[in-house]
Structure formats: C-alpha cells, structure tokens
Amino acid sequence: FLTFEGDLKWDHTDLTYRVMNYSPDLDKAVIDDAFKRAFKVWSDVTPLTFTQIYSGEADIIIMFGSGEHGDGYPFDGKDGLLAHAFPPGQGIQGDAHFDDDELWTLGTGIVVKTRYGNADGADCHFPFIFEGRSYSRCITEGRRDGLPWCSTTASYDRDKKYGFCPSELLYTNGGNSDGSPCIFPFVFEGKSYDACTTDGRSDGYRWCATTASFDQDKKYGFCPNRDTAVIGGNSQGDPCVFPFIFLGQSYSSCTSQGRHDGKLWCATTSNYDTDKKWGFCPDRGYSIFLVAAHEFGHSLGLDHSSVREALMYPMYSYVQDFQLHPDDVQGIQFLYGHGSGPKPTTPRPVPTEESQLIPTEGPQPMPTEEPQPIPTEAGSTFTTEEDEEEGTLEPTTKPIPVDPSQDACMEKSFDAITEINGELHFFKDGKYWTYSSYWNSGIQGAFSVANTWPGLPAVIDATFQDVLTKRVFFFAGRQFWVFSGKSMLGPRSIEKLGIGRGAGRITGALQRGRGKVLLFSGEKYWRLDVKIQRVDKGYPRATDDIFTGVPLDARNVFLYQDKYHFCQGSFYWRVTPRYQVDRVGYIKYDLLQCP
C-alpha cells in the first residue's frame, strides 16, 4: 500500500459526508445505500465513523459530474476515467467526484427499481411476459397514460406483480419541486418544451419544469434516466429511438455499425444521418459501491496500491463478494490504527422510496383484471435427493458439551483449526467447538478435548486428520500424538518426523492428496509422508514459494472444503488449489457463522 506524500490524514475520526447530487442512472436510495456500505468498508477496520449530513460543510463532499466539472481535472466521457478523489484536508480536499458519463449500476447491468404498483419497490424482471409477448425493457403497452412499467416476476400474465419504471412523468430528482413529475409542455425562456432538456445548463443534466411555465414559477427538477436511456455520446440520458436511420439503413436495436471498438450505440432521434444525435446503449456499467469504496480510500489518505487484488489498485474490476484486501487493511490501519474489531458484513436491504412519494392514485396497468398476488414461483417444498442421500461419513457419537455457555464467538483466536469427519473443529485451551455446513447445525460445543482425545495437553498447536486412515494427528510444542478413535500413540518428538531442532511450533497442516501432508512452522513448510511418518527430502521450503499473498506468520493453517486457509488475527485467507487467494474473510463471521 501507499499513502500520500506526508501521510496526509484526518485529524479527527468522526467524519461527515454530504452527497451534493445524484446520478440519474440509479434510484437515490440505491446510491445512498452504496455510499453507506462503501464507508463501512473502512469503518469496519479502523476507529473511523462516517455520518451523512444534508446541509453545511462536510469533511467529504460527494458529487457526480461530467467532463470539466469545476476542479480542473476533467472526466473523459464513457469508460476511461471513472472517478477521482482528493486526499484529506480542508476545502476540496477529501472530496470524491464520480463521472456521470458512466453508467452507474451495482456492477452487473442496469438496475430498474420500480415505484408504486404492487411489488413493494422490487426491481424489474427482464424479460417478462405480458399478454403472451416477451419484453426486455419497460413498456407503456396496456396503458393510456404513457407511464412505463414492468413486471417484477418472469410473467405478468401469471403473477400480476408490477411496478412503475423511472420516468419523468412519475417523478423528478433534486431541484425545488419535492419530486413532482414534469409537466409537458412547459415554457422556458419563451420556448415550449415537450421533453426533458439540457438547455440552460452547462453540466449536461436533463431537467424539466414541474409547472406549465418555468419562466413564471421557477419550479423544476432533474429527470431520472429511463431504462432505455443512452450513456454518453451527445444525448446523455435521452432514450434510444427505434427504428432509426444510419447511413441509409434502418436499425431496430442497438448496433456497433460505424464503430471500430464494437460498442453498441443507438440514435436518439429517428434519423442519425440528419440529426447526428446518439449515445451508447446500456451495458453492465460500473459498480458505484466498488468505485466509491476505492475513492473513499483516497479521501482517507490512501494512494494507489500495486497489489492487483487490492481495492486501492487503480484499475476497476468487478467482484461479486467484495472483501477488503489485507493490503488495504494494513494501509488504512497504518494511518488510523485498528478499530474495536471487525463487525459482520450483513447485507442491508435497500430501502424503498414508498414513504417519500405517495401517489394520488395508484397507477395500475390497464389490461386484464386487477393484479392478484400469486406466488412468484410454483410452490415447491425444497426436498432434494441430498436429503435422502446417506451421509458418506462414518457415524460418530457426539460428545456431550462441557459447558454450552462457553461461546466460540467470544474467543479472540483459536489454538488450532481443522476439519475432522467433515466438520470444522476449533480448539482453544482444552475445549473445542464443531461447525458443520453440511448438517447446518450451527456451532456445537464447547466440548472437552480431554474427554474426546484423552492424554492430550490442554493447548495444542495444530491438528489434522489423515484422509486415508481417518487417524487424527495432534501437535503441541515439539511433540505429536496420533489418535485412532480413542487409541493413542505418543507423545513422540517431531524430530522423529525429520523436522529439525530449528523449527518452532507447528502452526497448521494441509492434506495433499493421499498420504501427504504439508506441515507449517514459521515461514517454512515440510511435506510429511503420513504412512512412513517422515518428511520428504528437499524440505523445508519457503511458504511464499507457492502460497503467495497469504500472511507468512499465519497462526492456523488448515484445509477446509478443498481449499487452503491461512489465519491471522480475525481474518482468514482462502487459497484455491491453483494457489490463488480467492477470498479474505472473517474467521468468526464467515467460517463460524457468528451472529
């Protein structure tokens, strides 16, 4: 990680932020939620707190803009530059700006959140069936008022679940009209307008009057983008018009003709050749959450990292299950120190806007009968073959918990972690807990180590189960024990295995196919031949020779669900069999499923 020159940082930890305007691409509630989650990424690992304010001077001012937007660092249209932010300080310092020539989504395509209707603000389901026809966009068919709507399930015909799509005929954003819809036609500087316009503005945002005359009433709002709105070009926010004429040919859908980069575009009037009005068609877009989390890193004092997987790497890439990379954690904690500990990242439902706007008359699709609530999916009780399948694990008699009140979730760390008979075992001070994702039984325990494996010391360093014989090996200090059921061999010295005197405690073990196990100590590892109980020649080797990107001073190392896990502090690094770190998560919340 890198920090800015002079380690610029905030001199207080209770930071405020203010969102000055919103992108027309997304519902305001979705953007607010994304920013809140992006700040939480950083507050989870530091003492920092973030509070949204709605007036006055905030530490971090957030705005959307395009091209030159007032700070001398212009954006560049669609793609390329996505956003930028300034390091901590007064005035513009700390502020974050987002390029509104991008399509802002949650990373996987346009999000069409509905309002009103009977679907409680659910997103549109594309494609959907209406009167036997399939639609992949919001439609006005079936209505006389021109309001675009969509089904929120795969079939309106079957489910009758629907909502209204973003439209200037339904509401506006910002301005001074409290969300009132546009009134068409309206008069602005003596001219009559039948649609949203960018006239009178230098920032390219589309607006309308919310009374019949702006000149007289000065009431206005910004138009939300429809799902068919184009991005960039010279018609940002206007809908595609199909069919349109381009070089004499008629097009009824977006096309890449005329371009060398393959990007899809459409005209926003019926004839490109005469009007030259165009824009790009919606694609996956960029995740406002991921980009915001990156920019807020700058706002807090982090510069770009050269670690590709880190959030602060300068290039954008979409990840579905985002976890802050250890490089980012180290960077931000270098500046602000640790917080009181990470908290679980529970997904927060995006609030609906039902409470903000109440329709005078609930608009309803005209066709057919009244909407009736019908289950969205054919009701099927979730019985699978797995339920009836016999477990492949040998039946075991469950030990009796010694003290159910001793909670694994209260432990700060564990002596050893391993998978035995398909269940994760967490050892600490003579106790252990089990967790099985297979049985979905939650955390079981605490159990007594002495009851299950009599003769072991209270504190063990590492353990693993041999996949072939099901024997369980335990390591503590420089000794090891081997259990087959309750029969025990040991203790024996790890020197008998060929691990020299220079090695410290064994921190973990990874089973490698049949009969081989990697034993870790310090920054090295040995390969143990379990059958002959001897490490192979050519070892020890450096852990980072093959396990790059994991903490070299891991406290626990274990195999779980065919992936390698390296634990340090509250976190674990999960490594695929191809030696790629594919997840960094919380031991308690992700592995133990603590509340």
Binding site: Q257, G258, R259, S306, Y313, P314, M315, Y316
Partner: protein
C-alpha cells in the same frame, strides 16, 4: 459476400475520447498518471525510445505488470482499462 464489404467507420460527434494510436495513447497515459513529466516529454526528441522504455518500466512495475519496457499487449490493455483518475505517481 456481405461480410467482405468494408464497414464505414464514423466519427461520432461529442465523443470525448477518440481511439488514439498506441504510441499517442501511451504518451498521454504516462504523462497523465505521473510516469513522465511534461518536461521529459518535451526533451525526448533525442532519446525518445529510451525515455519511453524507462517510463513504461516504471508504470509496469507500479501496476504489477511484467517489466518489459515495451508497449506490449498487456500494457496497452492496462492503459485502456477503466480506472481511477488519481495519478499513480506524484501529486
């Protein structure tokens, strides 16, 4: 037969970023994100290749790419990738 017909490429009005030739793209990227300075670009007349290679290596190292000093495919892909506007080097 239709595919062999040469497709017309149009200059779309209002498009802020045009597709620059590779070398121009590289020079503007290296300057914008702090790997070269305007002074270096201006003084490059005599040793253009060397200074470009040096700046490319700097960029490749910073972004975790293979340090070839060449304008190779990976480097060009990185230069065309969507990204944050904050410079990688300098203020």
């Amino acid at each position: 037969p239709l595919q062999s017909k040469q497709q017309a490429v149009v200059t779309f009005p209002g498009e802020l970023v045009t597709r620059l030739p590779d070398l121009e793209l590289a020079e503007s990227y290296l300057l914008r994100f702090g790997y070269t300075t305007a002074v270096e670009v201006g003084a490059r007349m005599g040793s253009k290749h060397e200074s470009l290679a040096k700046a490319l290596r700097k960029m490749q190292k910073h972004l975790g790419l293979e340090e070839t000093g060449e304008l190779d495919a990976d480097t060009l892909e990185a230069m065309r990738a969507p990204r944050c506007g904050v410079p990688d080097v300098g203020t």
